[in-house]
């Protein structure tokens, strides 16, 4: 006897949970075969950016230290906590400071959430820099990954911009004077146009400052502009570029890795695995031939494992570690909130967060050179690396080509010596303005410790280029100098600069007001 409609309805009702689950997850159960593991990957919107199989080398933690993923995790954490903070934050010069105080002292979990937001943002800056260093020293920017290196640089700039616009929002002393200094750095091309007397006709500095502040003073117009940048424009730009970044990682054949031993047998982790050899007589499907020379047929290509579950476990672990580190930092250390913004007196010393302190030291030599030209030169230099160093080799291996390690150490010592020497000289003897009080400003812009760093490091790199006859080694030397310069300047400005930007051995020696 046929089932009546009522019976069918009751049966469907009974099977409801199962039916809903099946419709959500097509597989409906834990994958058991490699085929099902593949489906679990590419039938899921969020997972299908991964390839179905992943090379074991790229899963090795010491290749990447999971830095890219940690940066992404940091971003996800800031995104979630940022939306939560937006519930209470009021972007108005009258209310902003009080609303942060509310979040800190009154809102349930507000203080913790704000601390997490702040710490994950700081971690993100650190990790993005380390990620860049990792990609550089494993030569992972080489063909076909040149474009992704550029996307990564864009992401670095956006990350820094997000941090900058973020610490402006509390409208405390740090915020107010940071906007003042930041907008005046945008204004600093005037230093040059003033010096040659063309500001009246050509004033890019004034234009940039107006665009940032929306007024000729730091106030409500500036705050709302930075707010819009921080909560909408920059996150959107970051998410977009992040999508491109991931997409390119996948399309460029996954993470950079050394070629497997050609033919016969490949060795991995003491285990010898057979390497797939394509038959000359067989035609392979299009899917098999997208990337690489050896298509996976019947069995995975050599030295790969299924992404589900190996890669996803790895990714989850990195995410969990990032969350854990952030939570611990946020639990033990509060995000600072200085006094309410006071247009009359800056703090003394008025220091930026750590990642901008190297820049602040450079700016203390010349606003235009240190705040605009040198960052631009550094960015352009970094952007050119993959296009000037095009000889393949060393991809996916730390210090992969010969002598890289020794050039790294030599450059490390050289740039340490130069940086420390120059800082010591500047602290002890001053600079051009102290010796020639009436010197033309153009000389100060052109010749200062910052521009000399750039020149000396560039000269060192050219020396390595000539001596070692290798573009990669020249790039290694320059990148090492850049890292050392950045680190030492940051350290120097953090620890050794005190009130009036004078040199002190320790903050405990600062004069008491």
């Amino acid at each position: 006897m046929a089932e009546t409609a009522t019976q069918e309805f009751r049966r469907n009702l009974g099977e409801l949970p199962e039916a809903v689950k099946d419709s959500c997850f097509r597989l409906g159960k834990e994958p058991e075969s490699e085929r099902e593991e593949s489906q679990a990957t590419f039938h899921n919107l969020f997972l299908h950016i991964h390839s179905v199989r992943v090379h074991v080398r790229t899963l090795k933690p010491t290749l990447t230290f999971g830095l890219g993923l940690a940066a992404t995790s940091g971003f996800l954490i800031t995104l979630v906590t940022g939306v939560l903070l937006m519930v209470y934050y009021k972007p108005s010069t009258d209310l902003a400071y009080q609303s942060i105080k509310d979040i800190h002292f009154t809102v349930s979990t507000g203080r913790f959430i704000r601390n997490i937001h702040r710490w994950s943002a700081q971690l993100m800056v650190l990790v993005v820099l380390l990620h860049m260093a990792r990609v550089f020293f494993t030569a992972s920017y080489k063909k076909p990954r040149e474009f992704n290196w550029l996307v990564g640089l864009g992401l670095l700039v956006i990350t820094l911009a997000l941090s900058f616009t973020g610490y402006l929002l509390p409208w405390d002393q740090l915020a107010y004077w940071a906007i003042t200094i930041g907008s005046n750095i945008a204004n600093s091309p005037r230093e040059l146009t003033d010096a040659v007397g063309i500001t009246k006709f050509f004033d890019p500095g004034g234009f940039q400052k107006r665009l940032l502040l929306g007024a000729n003073y730091v106030g409500q117009d500036a705050l709302i502009r930075f707010y819009v940048l921080h909560v909408f424009v920059l996150p959107l730009a970051l998410v977009t570029l992040l999508g491109v970044h991931f997409w390119r990682v996948r399309k460029d054949g996954g993470l950079a890795k050394p070629e497997d031993a050609p033919g016969g047998l490949a060795e991995w982790g003491g285990e010898r695995r057979p390497v797939f050899q394509p038959l000359a007589t067989k035609t392979y499907g299009l899917m098999a031939l997208v990337k690489g020379q050896r298509p996976p047929v019947n069995r995975g290509p050599e030295n790969t494992v299924m992404s589900w579950p190996h890669l996803f476990w790895a990714e989850l672990s990195v995410f969990m570690v990032t969350v854990a580190v952030t939570l611990i930092l946020a639990f033990y250390s509060d995000a600072p909130l200085k006094e309410l913004a006071n247009a009359a007196i800056p703090e003394n010393p008025a220091k930026a967060p750590w990642y901008f302190l190297g820049l602040q030291e450079l700016v203390s030599y010349s606003a235009f050179m240190g705040g605009m030209l040198i960052p631009m030169i550094v960015l352009i230099g970094l952007a050119l690396i993959p296009f000037l160093d095009r000889r393949p080799g060393g991809e996916g291996t730390w210090f992969g080509t010969s002598q890289e390690r020794s050039v790294f150490w030599q450059s490390l010592f050289f740039s340490c010596a130069v940086t420390v020497g120059m800082l010591a000289f500047t602290v002890n003897y001053g600079w051009l303005r102290n010796w020639f009080p009436n010197i033309h400003q153009l000389w100060i812009i052109a010749i200062n410790p910052g521009s000399l760093f750039v020149l000396i490091f560039a000269a060192w790199s050219l020396f390595i280029l000539k001596r070692k006859d290798s573009v990669r080694l020249a790039a290694v030397s320059l990148f090492t100098c850049f890292l050392v310069g950045f680190t030492l300047l940051t350290y120097f400005a953090t620890v050794h600069r005190g009130p009036n930007w004078h040199f002190y051995w320790w903050p405990s020696q600062w004069p008491v007001h």
């Binding site: 005046n184 665009l211 705040g371 400003q441 930007w501 004078h502």
Partner: protein, 154 residues
């Protein structure tokens, strides 16, 4: 094939190219036009002509800081002068030091007449125009810079 004998462009590809070109020109123009919006046409800001009070209030040889206005008023034997206390480097407020002014942010140092003696400041601290209101009070116009050494005699 020479320059004088270019390859034939079909009507179809000519028309597609021109329409594509017009698309980019239109979008580019629109983008530039939209960028005009955030460039403020009027710069809002507080009035920068500041009444400081009657001249008798400031004896000869005195110096009076006006912290909220970021300026210092001096009076010497030759008359009044006002020096801006906004650093010409990156806009921090300089503080009075033993022999002049010092900036807390990046270490610029100025002498007591505002001249640069050290640090990254590109220009001396500006001297501001001093005048008197109808009721006799001193007024400083912080938007008007005057030459160093200019005094206002009462």
């Amino acid at each position: 094939m020479s320059r004088l004998d270019p390859p034939r462009v079909s009507r179809r590809s000519f028309l597609s190219l021109t329409s594509l070109g017009s698309f980019f020109v239109a979008m580019g123009t629109a983008a530039v036009g939209m960028l005009r919006l955030p460039n403020p046409a009027v710069l809002p800001g507080p009035v920068r002509r500041i009444k400081l009070g009657p001249p008798e209030q400031f004896p000869t040889g005195s110096e009076t800081p006006f912290a909220d206005q970021n300026l210092v008023l001096f009076r010497d034997d030759d008359g009044f002068y006002a020096i801006s206390s906004t650093c010409t480097h990156l806009g921090c407020t300089v503080a009075r030091s033993k022999d002049g002014f010092a900036c807390p942010c990046h270490g610029s140092r100025f002498n007591s007449k505002g001249g640069v003696v050290g640090g990254p400041a590109p220009r001396p601290l500006p001297w501001l125009e001093v005048s008197r209101a109808a009721n006799g009070d001193l007024i400083v116009n912080a938007d008007n810079e005057v030459a160093e050494g200019t005094r206002y005699r009462v």
